[in-house]
């Protein structure tokens, strides 16, 4: 049995930013302000709501006062820090702490939060988190008690630079790197993808579109056609809005990056502090590393290489903390300090956004710099095939189906298998809000995405939509994967009123009350939700039987979509197996015996006569001697008496089900052709040809509901055929989701 998916649990406690310049490594920023404590008032504050500001800051002030007595640095520690070199004064301040050392107790209030992380001195922790040189761009993992410090450190090159020298000389990485240049650099890098973070080539496989990397140069491109590479580069629903940021862009870009100073950035390391449950340790750590830590680190490396980004941000943050400490050490408090840092440093803002979104299991949209936005998430399954039993972790409300078509990272990149052509999209929020989100951002796929969203419907498959709208199928599949990956939609088999839907055994009954209220708002003047669910509760029947009149059809289809979206219902799909009736087995055995007899008589001619006798048997059967096949005859009770000799005169033939007709071996394929002949004789050539086509679906894993779509037949006809075959005893059907 497959393992059950676990409910999302990011276990994220804090994010730390560690940099090392020429001397000591330092944690220059961490979020939340007080890791491991209740930071809710800080979070409120960062919603930029000035009304909240006062109350929250005062409360935090109190708290910091309370705890201020706890930690005063040991003497040796102070000495150690003050000894550390300050050859590059601006960047190389020993964090926020250095000016306060002289202030002693006066500044202790503000400094202690910086210097005390999880009960460890910040400087001690920084040394623990400082990776060995061999850890460059590798997973870094250190555990202290129940906490894991997870990161992917990035080192400067041995000569202290960040860029491969042969690609571009240092001098050209001036602040005003033009878009053209960026592109050229990146294109150059495509050749040698060793050092660079370039997302367009396959090296970026893990980080490409899903990180949603986007540079200005891309968004300026005229290309509106969807060639694969553009999709990959820009595959991202929420993109940077370059208009709104142009002000800030000019401001920041004009800040002359002092090269001597920045050269000194030797290592940067964003550390994610997790507290995973012991049993889920590996899973949670891997999830976080693969989906968030690694992608952020790559993006920062790319931006650092391009524009000395991390060094600049580090300078901004350190100068701010220093400035705050100096100016008003009395009134200093964490809340205002954080407010300042986050409003001034895009990296700090990104880290705080990332923390808040990831801890809430949402998608984090962060703008690292003006040219680089990315979206990070820990993906969550959209459906489960197995109903969790009482012992398994429960995931109520999750869509229960085996018809899953969840795109992975690969799909979004366009490398992996596509969403099935016979699926369609079920939007998870209303069209207008999705369109608004898409249009709020500039991206080359905005227009095709909008166009596609306007024509998509949950009742028509991708293929049908492609045919009616003229959008190429592969584009639709790409756009759809994109929307699914970013949790805007879900891929489902198209809804149809003749299909059977039942209340999902995995429906989240605890939500029933709120869902009923929402339902009543959206569908007034219709039966309430409990009534609808009640109607779907009993013997499975087509959804159309619920629809009172033709006029109600579209409304009821909307209801169905709504129910599917909330995981209230699931489609009951029909699965079928070929049943080999006793008389077929008998006929085949007889024929084989006859052939054997005739072969004994005329051994020279056997080959050809065999072929004709077994009518439409495929040639592969001929290689098997008939006597052998009869001994192989799978009797369902064979396990109990395998030692018995071959002939079982009176009733050896009992019906059996064929597990996999597509890969049938010699004897089963003989049965299949005998059934086919039988159908020809009893139901006519039409039914026979249909049977031959359909037989591949009768393996218990292909839903019968897909046959009309795939083969282009009428549902009614399929239903009739199935009924006929079942009546003839050659087919067994069962229903599940």
């Amino acid at each position: 049995m497959a393992s059950y998916p676990l409910p999302p649990n990011p276990c994220l406690v804090a994010i730390l930013l560690l940099v090392k310049t020429t001397s000591e490594p330092r944690i220059i920023f961490h979020y939340p302000p007080k890791p491991g404590e209740d930071n809710s008032h800080f979070r409120d504050m960062f919603k930029e709501n000035p009304a909240d500001d006062d109350s929250s800051s005062s409360s935090s002030d109190d708290e910091s006062q309370d705890s201020s007595a706890e930690i005063l640095k040991p003497v040796e520690q102070k000495e150690e820090e003050s000894n550390t070199g300050r050859n590059t004064p601006e960047v190389d301040e020993s964090g926020s702490a250095s000016p306060e050392k002289s202030n002693g107790l006066k500044g202790a209030k503000a400094k202690l939060q910086w210097n005390d992380l999880f009960g460890y001195q910040s400087s001690v922790l920084a040394k623990v988190l400082l990776p060995a040189a061999s850890g460059h761009k590798k997973r870094f993992e250190v555990g202290l008690n129940d906490k894991v410090f997870l990161g992917r450190p990035v080192f400067a090159r041995p000569d202290g630079t960040w860029r491969k020298p042969k690609k571009l000389r240092r001098s050209s990485s001036k602040s005003n790197v033009t878009a053209e240049k960026v592109r050229r650099i990146r294109e150059q890098d495509k050749g040698a993808k060793v050092e660079k973070f370039d997302y367009a080539n396959k090296d970026s496989g893990t980080s490409g579109p899903d990180t949603g990397m986007e540079s200005q140069s891309d968004s300026h491109r005229d290309k509106k056609t969807l060639n694969k590479e553009d999709e990959i580069e820009n595959g991202e629903p929420v993109e940077q809005t370059h208009d709104t940021k142009s002000n800030r862009s000019s401001k920041l870009d004009m800040l002359p990056p002092k090269k001597e100073k920045h050269k000194s950035l030797a290592i940067f390391h964003v550390v994610f502090v997790l507290r995973p449950p012991p049993l889920e340790y590996h899973l949670r750590v891997k999830e976080m590393y693969d989906n968030v830590t690694k992608k952020l680190s790559k993006a920062m490396k790319w931006e650092q290489t391009r524009s000395d980004y991390v060094a600049r941000e580090a300078a901004v943050i350190t100068s701010l903390t220093k400035h705050m400490d100096k100016s008003n050490s009395e009134k200093q408090n964490l809340a205002t300090l954080y407010h300042d840092i986050i409003s001034r440093s895009s990296l700090a803002k990104a880290i705080s956004t990332l923390y808040n979104s990831i801890t809430a299991s949402r998608i984090a949209h962060i703008d690292l710099s003006l040219t680089l936005s990315l979206s990070l998430q820990i993906p969550f399954p959209t459906s489960i095939p197995i109903l969790p039993n009482a012992l398994a972790p429960q995931l109520p409300g999750l869509w229960l189906t085996t018809a899953n078509s969840m795109p992975t990272d690969d799909d979004v990149r366009g490398n992996g298998p596509q969403l099935g052509a016979h699926f369609t999209l079920l939007l998870l929020s209303d069209l207008h809000s999705i369109l608004a989100d898409i249009n709020a951002t500039a991206s080359p796929i905005t227009r095709p995405l909008t166009h596609y969203l306007r024509v998509t419907t949950s009742t028509k498959s991708f293929l049908q939509i492609s045919q009616s709208s003229g959008i190429p199928l592969t584009d639709i599949q790409f756009l759809a994967s994109h929307l699914v990956y970013w949790r805007r939609a879900r891929a489902i088999p198209p809804l149809h009123q003749r299909d059977v839907y039942v209340v999902s055994p995995n429906a989240d009954m605890r939500n029933l009350a709120t869902a009923s209220q929402n339902f009543a708002k959206i569908f007034p003047a219709l039966p309430p939700l409990p009534k609808i669910l009640n109607m779907l509760s009993f013997t499975p029947r087509p959804y159309s039987t619920l629809i009172p009149s033709k006029d109600h059809k579209s409304t009821y289809m909307d209801i169905l979509a709504w129910l599917m979206r909330g995981g209230w219902v699931t489609q009951l799909r029909t699965f079928a197996w070929v049943r080999v009736p006793a008389h077929i087995k008998e006929a085949v055995a007889k024929e084989a015996a006859m052939n054997a007899a005739s072969r004994q008589k005329k051994s020279s001619e056997t080959e050809t006569t065999d072929g004709t006798d077994t009518s439409s048997t495929s040639s592969t059967n001929l290689s098997v001697p008939p006597s052998h096949s009869s001994s192989n005859s799978p009797s369902p009770t064979s396990s109990t008496h395998t030692t018995l000799p071959v002939p079982q005169p009176p009733k050896p033939y009992s019906p059996s089900l064929m597990p996999n007709p597509r890969l049938a071996s010699a004897l089963p394929s003989r049965y299949l052709s005998a059934i086919s002949t039988h159908i020809l004789n009893t139901q006519g050539p039409d039914a026979q040809s249909a049977w031959d086509k359909c037989v591949v679906y009768f393996d218990g894993h292909h839903a019968i509901e897909t046959i009309p779509v795939r083969e282009g037949w009428k549902r009614k006809r399929v239903a009739e055929l199935m009924g006929g075959w079942e009546g003839a005893g050659v087919l067994v059907r069962g229903r599940h989701w």
Binding site: V128, E141, L144, N145, V502, P530, S639
Partner: protein
Amino acid sequence: MLKAIFFATFDVTEGPKVLHQVPTSSITASPSSPSIPLLHFPPISSLLIPHPTLCNSGLLTLTHSHHRILSYPQHIASPSYPRNAYTFNFCLVLAEDAAFSSYVPVVRKLNALFRTLEEQSQFLSCDGSAPDSGKIYALCEILLEDLNNYSEAMIPIDASNTLNIKLFPTYPPPPPLYAHHVPLATVRLEDLVDENWDLTMLRVLPWIDGVNSVKQIALLADADFKLVRKAISHLLYYGCVLLLDIFSFGAIYAPTPEVAAFVESKEMQAECGRYVALGEGDGLGAEKGEEQEEKGTLSGTHLAELYLSLRQGHSVKSWCMERADVAARIDVRRFITFGVIKGFLYRVHKYALATSIHKSGSKRLAKANFHRLKQREEQQTKEKENKTGGEVENVDLGKYLDGTHCFDEMCTDLMVSEKELTARFKAWGDVQIICR
């Protein structure tokens, strides 16, 4: 599986140093050594012999070259030592992707014990034996072998100290257990029992048969329900019991996607055939094969078809009536239970939802209650009142009508039959039944 154990200490002249290691040369190898070490010690030495503030404060793990090191650094400050301190760390090495939670207590105990010994008698610092020799090395060696081979170790250290260590697996906490759950033993529980077992447990065990619900077990064993629930939760935690639902002929079962596995598996069909056969105790008649077949065991194909014919909205009772010929030849309860145990059948539970609760708060509810009470009174007079405490029960009923409680739960808690429950719903008024 432990890869290595090593003892690192802070050498006054050499700094952090691996003194003893098992297997030899697994951590630091001399140039002449043929084997390649698992780790490269110098870069991680400062973490394993860390800053004093990180010592004595708990577990420190790190990953390095595809291995995970569990350690518990110890720092003893005393003027008797050179540099006034002694720092050491016993470290366990595991594969990076191995589950390590059961080794955490080991490393903690190991370091705590040696800290005590060191404080008492300077056991470690005065041990002058050469690297990879002496009693500390021997101890590490025995520990590694015993833990890997027997998952436990008992190593005498000196006259008064013994190291006792056992690896305990970590299981997830058991799910919440409700009165209507039916435990079914997966092992012969009576074989596990010894006289030290809990008294309630001993009373409960005979009644765990896959038929009785937790509540029924409590009644039958004449034990407190809460204690019974706790006892069964224990069994659940160790995987000794499964949870089923209360079987009744009025219940509805339907196949899940796992049914495909049953259709394809001849072994499972044969197992099922033996299990559901009438008259056989517990499938022990399997060897009789042919004989049994003549007695009327169904073929695997037939069983599969029977399972596929179960469906939503169709109770076991009506299924039996539809297939009376077959139903008479098998143990229907076992037939259903087999499917539920194997996970290819699921019970379609019924839930009741009083729409009035959801519409608008308590006023409406009170009104409904009033109506209901009136109706109930009428009904009671009509039925000549053969039940007691009707009102109280109805007030109880209200809290079950939010759609989160299944019929089984209500029947068990209220101690009524499903028939009476539905009658009460009728009396209540606007109750929607939802099956899922």
